[in-house]
């Protein structure tokens, strides 16, 4: 864009040290929070009270802290569900569907083994382990389906996973509504409640899935940083042509990342519906939790694929979304503050990403090529 003698140019930035990426991420989060003040203002809510409510509930209130912990585990697992394929350059948008699949599979275990009463036939520990395994397997199967299609036939994984999302949403509805197999005896539009023996073991009020999630964090970090397999996945994600040159085969890896990612999503499904105290069922508003999974996408993007960095980010987002929901109720804000925050975070993240890579410079137009004085002479 020219203005007189100067022009405004958008040009690629020379590489910045990695610390700027972290700063950029922090800035993005802060900016999104600042922009959220617009939301509060538009609802005539006092800004500082609003922020204080959000944070104090999420991180300082005894109920709130527990809720934040539960949700963090959920978000962390969702983050990993997206992160693993992302490292290979693939988009697992289907993680909500895989979450639902995991939840269905988890509930299918007691259902199939007729353990829905208060005296289950098998030891509780075995049943819980089966539920976890089933959830992971179901998530992996759904993810793997999309991954296989992508690996063998180059079918666009975004489209397939979105279709699977829609299919699974309705399948869950079928299972828990209008006389579906999982429907609770007393509740309409909800699944049956898990009997007491099948509750997940708790450590200070937090289900053991926390260990699974944190274990996953360490596992993934080691996988990507230290193993040959992780190296190959990263190479594939960065430069598929170079990966081929180096003898790396995309087909098997594409399938693998979707299986692993799907498994994480399935575990997330088990966690939220079968392990969180006070829930222990698939509620009527299960769609909300599928949407919440999208926070996992943002976390993975902001963490730039680092599974350890995802932990604090997931905790933060868990707290923010809970606090926002609480503030929404307490301050009578319109519905969807947490959704709006999601949207704002996406926006600021993209902006920070662009700024990390480009800069605006204002400079003088390069002088015209000097006119050589010699005229076209003849001899």
């Amino acid at each position: 864009m020219r203005l007189g003698r100067h022009e405004l140019i958008l040009e690629p930035r020379p590489a910045l040290p990695a610390v700027y990426a972290v700063l950029g991420a922090v800035a993005a989060i802060l900016l999104a929070l600042v922009l959220a003040s617009v939301l509060f203002l538009s609802a005539d809510a006092p800004i500082f009270a609003a922020y204080r409510t959000v944070f104090s509930y999420a991180f300082f209130n005894p109920h709130g802290i527990l809720a934040t912990a539960h949700r963090s585990i959920y978000l962390l697992l969702c983050t990993y569900a997206f992160l693993v394929p992302l490292r290979a350059g693939l988009w697992n948008i289907g993680l909500p569907g895989q979450v639902y699949a995991g939840a269905l599979a988890a509930f299918a275990v007691p259902f199939a083994l007729r353990a829905t009463g208060s005296a289950p036939a098998l030891p509780a520990g075995v049943l819980v382990a089966l539920m976890v395994a089933a959830a992971a397997a179901a998530g992996a199967a759904v993810g793997g389906f999309a991954g296989a299609l992508r690996a063998r036939l180059q079918v666009n994984e975004i489209l397939v996973t979105m279709m699977l999302n829609s299919i699974l949403v309705w399948l869950v509805a079928y299972m828990i509504k209008e006389g579906g197999p999982f429907m609770g005896a007393t509740a309409e539009g909800e699944s049956f409640t898990l009997p007491q023996p099948l509750y997940a073991p708790l450590l200070r009020g937090v289900p053991f899935t926390a260990l699974l999630a944190l274990g996953a964090a360490v596992f993934l970090d080691v996988l990507f940083a230290k193993t040959a397999l992780g190296y190959r996945i990263r190479a594939l994600g960065e430069n598929p042509a170079a990966a081929r040159y180096g003898g790396i085969i995309p087909v098997a890896l594409s399938l693998f990342v979707f299986l692993l990612g799907g498994a994480f999503a399935g575990l997330a499904g088990y966690h939220y519906f079968a392990a969180v105290p006070g829930v222990y069922k698939i509620p009527g508003n299960y769609g909300y939790y599928g949407d919440l999974g999208f926070y996992g996408i943002i976390s993975a993007l902001i963490a730039r694929g680092s599974s350890l960095a995802a932990v604090p980010i997931a905790v933060l987002f868990a707290g923010l979304s809970l606090g926002a929901r609480f503030a929404q109720g307490a301050l009578r804000l319109p519905f969807g503050v947490d959704y709006a925050l999601l949207g704002l975070l996406m926006m600021t993240f993209i902006a920070s990403h662009v700024l990390y890579q480009f800069r605006l410079t204002w400079r003088r137009v390069a002088a015209e090529a000097p006119a050589v004085q010699a005229e076209i002479s003849r001899e």
Partner: protein
């Protein structure tokens, strides 16, 4: 029966508008996977404006403008910044999904305006859709601008060497595509189902994206595909008309989505690709670097 057909065509129109916009986009070489986001935002803006101002025309205008704006943003990221088009599209979708849920929240519920008059029980949008299809076909295949668009999507270097500004063409198409996506969203919230609820599209944008692939980038085939899909969708809502009592209605709701998967698989096989693969704009999704 006629009512079912009329409703189906109304549904098809929404798919049609969005897919048509995306088709023009893709013919120029730009891939927008965040189509759903543009539709959501356009539809929400249209709904809010129409209800607040009590005017349908203003509502549609707002929807289209917002769609154009988001299309421009996508274009900026993909064309000028040469970013990954999938990242940009996904970003726009999540952004729209989040923001529209909040912004539209207070307006949840019925629109409250009188229904848009149609004739013979058919809303006026389907004929509009057909006209747009014809216009698009004419533009793409019978005008020099259309030739330029198609060339920009097949081989931008060839287009540039012929004196065409690939950047300008792509921006034009991405804005048009965005406008049509906004129109699609507006049609949904103002005509097809004038009740606002969060995430009202429930995946329609992605279906439209799939339809573009199915149509092999031909507007007339797209019309046929969108119409077919609209019928399928409507049937899935009221399966008792065709197969009463068989399976829960929730299972029927999954059918339209389930059908797209095998179709996607078929068009991805090498058999199909060798026979019809030439239809795909060769430079689709690849950032264009001049020189």
């Amino acid at each position: 029966m006629w009512e079912l057909l009329a409703r189906s065509l109304e549904a098809s129109t929404v798919f049609l508008f969005a897919a048509l916009g995306e088709l023009v986009d893709q013919r120029a070489g730009v891939l927008n996977v965040g189509l759903e986001g543009l539709m959501l935002f356009g539809g929400t803006a249209a709904f809010i404006t129409a209800q607040a101002m009590g005017s349908y025309p203003l509502g549609f205008l707002a929807g289209m403008m917002l769609g154009a704006l988001l299309g421009l943003a996508h274009g900026f990221f993909s064309i000028t910044l040469r970013g990954d088009q999938v990242v940009s599209g996904m970003g726009l979708w999540i952004l729209s999904f989040g923001l529209t849920t909040y912004l539209g929240g207070p307006y949840t519920g019925p629109l409250g305006l009188g229904r848009i008059p149609g004739f013979l029980g058919l809303s006026p949008f389907f004929p509009l859709g057909v006209v747009l299809v014809a216009l698009t076909w004419f533009l793409l295949f019978r005008t020099s601008l259309g030739l330029a668009i198609r060339s920009a999507g097949e081989n931008p270097a060839a287009a540039e060497a012929s004196g065409i500004s690939v950047v300008a063409i792509r921006y034009l198409c991405v804005i048009c595509g965005g406008t049509l996506a906004g129109l699609a969203g507006a049609t949904y919230t103002l005509s097809y189902n004038p009740v606002w609820t969060y995430n009202f599209l429930m995946g329609w944008g992605f279906v439209s994206l799939a339809l573009v692939f199915f149509s092999m980038w031909n507007p007339w085939i797209l019309l046929a595909g969108a119409s077919l899909f609209g019928v399928m969708w409507q049937l899935s809502l009221s399966p008792e008309l065709v197969l009463p009592g068989v399976l829960s209605r929730y299972v029927w709701r999954t059918v339209p989505f389930a059908i797209t998967i095998p179709i996607l698989v078929i068009i991805s096989t090498s058999w199909f690709r060798t026979r019809w693969g030439l239809a795909k704009p060769e430079a689709l999704g690849r950032p264009y670097v001049k020189g």
